[in-house]
C-alpha cells in the first residue's frame, strides 16, 4: 500500500460511503417488507373470526403478486427513464436488465437491484390497503385479479407522475415518501372498491348502524406497532441515501407525528364518544404516520406534532362520516390512507420549509389528480369485474364466513379431533 495517491484514497472513501448508503436502502427495504405483516395482522384483528383465514390468505398473495408484477412491468412503468420526463405515461420495457455499471456507484447512491427491491416493497402496499376495506364479503378470485391489475398498472402510472419524473414532478408537486402516491392512492382505490361492493350484510339497518367488532385486538395492535416500525424504513429509506442529517430528521418527524396521532385520536374520540376506543387510537397512530409521509423531510418537530395531531383528530370524524354515508370499511382504510393522505399532502403547503400558497395549490392539484385517476380506474375495474365474474360472495357464504366458504378452513380450530372424520384421502 506504499504508493497510494490521494485520488485513490478519495475513491475508496466514496466507495465506503456508497456501501453505507446502499446498505441503508436495503435495511429500509426489510423494514418496509414487514409492513406487509403489519397490514396482515391489523386487518385480521379488525375482521370477524370467521373471515380470518381469508384475509391472511389475501395478504400473503398480495405481497407475492406485487413483487412479481413489479418485476415484470411495474418498475419500468414507474421509472421509464429520462425520455418520459414531464409526461403522463411511459414504459421502459419488460423485466429487469441492469448493466454492469448499474450495480456500482455509477447508478447513484445504491445499486439498480436495491432500487428495484425498495420500490417493489412499496408497490404491493396499495393493494393491501384495499384488502382491508373490502374484507369479509369480496370473492377471492375477483379480489386477486383487481389487486394484480391495480398494482401492475394503476400504481406505477400515478407513481411515475411524480417519482418517475412525470408531469406532477415537473409542476412542482412534492410527495416525499407517498402520502399521495401510496396512501391516498390506495385509499382512493379502497373507496371505489367498497362503494361498488356495498356494505356487509346487516351493517346498516333501518334501526341504525350495527357495529361489527373485530375479533382480535392484540393482533390489531401488533399490526399497528409493526407498521410504525416499518415506517421508519418507509420514510427513512425515502431519503434515498443514508444522509445523516436528513434520515435522522425524518426519524424524528415520523415518530413524533405518530405519537401525536395517538394523542389526537385519544382526545377526539373521548370527546365524541365518551369512551377510550382502542381501535381509534390505533387508527390515529396510522393517520399520523400517513400524514407526515409527504413532508417528513421538510418539517421541524413542532410541525410534525401538529400534522400528526390533526390527522389523529380527523380519524374519528372520518370514520363516523364514512359510516353515515354507508361506505362500509371494516378497518378504516379510507379514513387512514385516503383522508389523512390528502391531509398530509396538503400540509406540505401549510407547514415546514416549502409552505406557501403556490405550493399548497400544487399539492392540491397533485393529490386530486392521483385520487381521481385511481378512483376512476378502480371503480371501472371493479364494475367490470362485477358485471362479468361477480365480485361478491353469496349471502349464505357471507353468513357462514369466507374461511369455510372459500377455504374450507377455520382460523382457530379448537374442536376435539373426534368431532372430525376424514372421508377422502
Amino acid at each position: 500500500m506504499a504508493n497510494v495517491t490521494a485520488q485513490q484514497a478519495m475513491e475508496a472513501a466514496n466507495e465506503a460511503a456508497f456501501l453505507t448508503n446502499n446498505l441503508w436502502i436495503l435495511v429500509a427495504t426489510v423494514l418496509v417488507f414487514i409492513m406487509h405483516l403489519g397490514f396482515a395482522t391489523l386487518e385480521s384483528g379488525f375482521v370477524q373470526r370467521k373471515n380470518t383465514v381469508n384475509i391472511l390468505f389475501k395478504n400473503a398473495m398480495i405481497i407475492a403478486i406485487g413483487l412479481l408484477t413489479y418485476c415484470l412491468i411495474g418498475f419500468n412503468l414507474m421509472y421509464p427513464g429520462a425520455d418520459f420526463a414531464g409526461k403522463f405515461f411511459g414504459f421502459g420495457g419488460f423485466g429487469l436488465n441492469p448493466s454492469e455499471a448499474d450495480l456500482t456507484s455509477a447508478y447513484g447512491d445504491y445499486t439498480y437491484w436495491s432500487d428495484f427491491i425498495f420500490q417493489g416493497m412499496f408497490a404491493a402496499t396499495a393493494a393491501t390497503i384495499v384488502s382491508g376495506a373490502v374484507a369479509e364479503r369480496i370473492k377471492l378470485e375477483s379480489f386477486l385479479i383487481f389487486a394484480t391489475i391495480l398494482v401492475a398498472i394503476s400504481y406505477p402510472i400515478t407513481g411515475m407522475w411524480k417519482w418517475g419524473g412525470g408531469w406532477l414532478d415537473a409542476m412542482g408537486f412534492y410527495d416525499f415518501a407517498g402520502s399521495t402516491l401510496v396512501h391516498a392512492m390506495g385509499g382512493a382505490a379502497a373507496l371505489a372498491a367498497a362503494i361498488v361492493l356495498g356494505p356487509r350484510l346487516g351493517k346498516y339497518t333501518p334501526s341504525g348502524i350495527k357495529p361489527i367488532p373485530g375479533h382480535n385486538m392484540p393482533l390489531a395492535a401488533v399490526g399497528v406497532f409493526l407498521l410504525w416500525f416499518g415506517w421508519f424504513g418507509f420514510n427513512g429509506g425515502s431519503v434515498l441515501s443514508a444522509d445523516a442529517a436528513n434520515v435522522s430528521l425524518v426519524f424524528v418527524t415520523t415518530a413524533l407525528a405518530a405519537a401525536a396521532g395517538a394523542v389526537g385520536a385519544f382526545i377526539a374520540s373521548y370527546l365524541l364518544f365518551k369512551s377510550h376506543d382502542l381501535s381509534m387510537v390505533l387508527n390515529g397512530i396510522l393517520g399520523g404516520l400517513v400524514g407526515i409521509t409527504a413532508g417528513a423531510d421538510q418539517m421541524g418537530p413542532m410541525s410534525a406534532v401538529l400534522i400528526g395531531l390533526v390527522a389523529g383528530v380527523i380519524i374519528p370524524f372520518s370514520v363516523v362520516f364514512f359510516d353515515r354515508i354507508k361506505v362500509d370499511d371494516p378497518v378504516g382504510a379510507t379514513s387512514v390512507h385516503l383522508v389523512c393522505g390528502i391531509w398530509g399532502t396538503l400540509a406540505v403547503g401549510i407547514f415546514g420549509k416549502m409552505a406557501g400558497m403556490g405550493q399548497f395549490i400544487n399539492q392540491l392539484i397533485g393529490t386530486l389528480a392521483v385520487c381521481v385517476f385511481t378512483f376512476a380506474f378502480s371503480f371501472g375495474l371493479m364494475y367490470l369485474l362485477k358485471v362479468t365474474i361477480g365480485i361478491r360472495v353469496s349471502e349464505e357464504e357471507e353468513i357462514k364466513g369466507l374461511d369455510i366458504a372459500e377455504h374450507g378452513a377455520s382460523a382457530y380450530q379448537n374442536v376435539e379431533n373426534a368431532a372430525f372424520a376424514a372421508n377422502i384421502q
Partner: protein, 112 residues
C-alpha cells in the same frame, strides 16, 4: 310451568329473538352447541386432506314459561326460525317442578 329448549340455526337467532320479543318473551338463556343431524357440516381441507366437519354450530335457547304460553312460543319459533332446508332444528318441551328466583327467593310462576 314448562321449559322450552329450542335448537336453532345461529343465523336465525336475531329473527327468532325479535319474534319472541313481539309476543312478550324477552327472557331466556342461550348457549352454544354443536348439532349432529341430517344436515352435515361444510367441506373442509387441511394440508391435502379433504374432510367434512360433521357438525353444525347452533344455538340453544332455554325458555322458562307458564303452561299457557307454550304453544304460542313454539309457533313463534317455528315461524321465525324456519328456512325450510334440512337442519332447522328442534323444539323440546319439558315439565318443570319448580322455579326459584335467586334475587328474591320467590317460587313458582312469579319467579319466571
Amino acid at each position: 310451568m314448562k321449559k322450552i329448549e329450542a335448537i336453532i340455526r345461529s343465523s336465525r337467532f336475531e329473527k327468532v329473538k325479535d319474534a319472541l320479543a313481539d309476543i312478550g318473551v324477552n327472557f331466556f338463556t342461550l348457549s352454544d352447541v354443536k348439532g349432529f343431524g341430517l344436515q352435515k357440516g361444510s367441506k373442509m381441507v387441511y394440508r391435502g386432506s379433504v374432510y367434512d366437519s360433521n357438525y353444525i354450530a347452533r344455538l340453544q335457547l332455554d325458555i322458562l314459561t307458564t303452561d299457557d304460553k307454550v304453544d304460542e312460543i313454539i309457533k313463534t319459533i317455528v315461524g321465525s326460525g324456519r328456512t325450510g332446508e334440512v337442519g332447522d332444528g328442534k323444539i323440546t318441551v319439558f315439565d318443570v317442578q319448580s322455579v326459584t328466583r335467586i334475587r328474591t327467593g320467590e317460587v313458582g310462576e312469579s319467579a319466571i
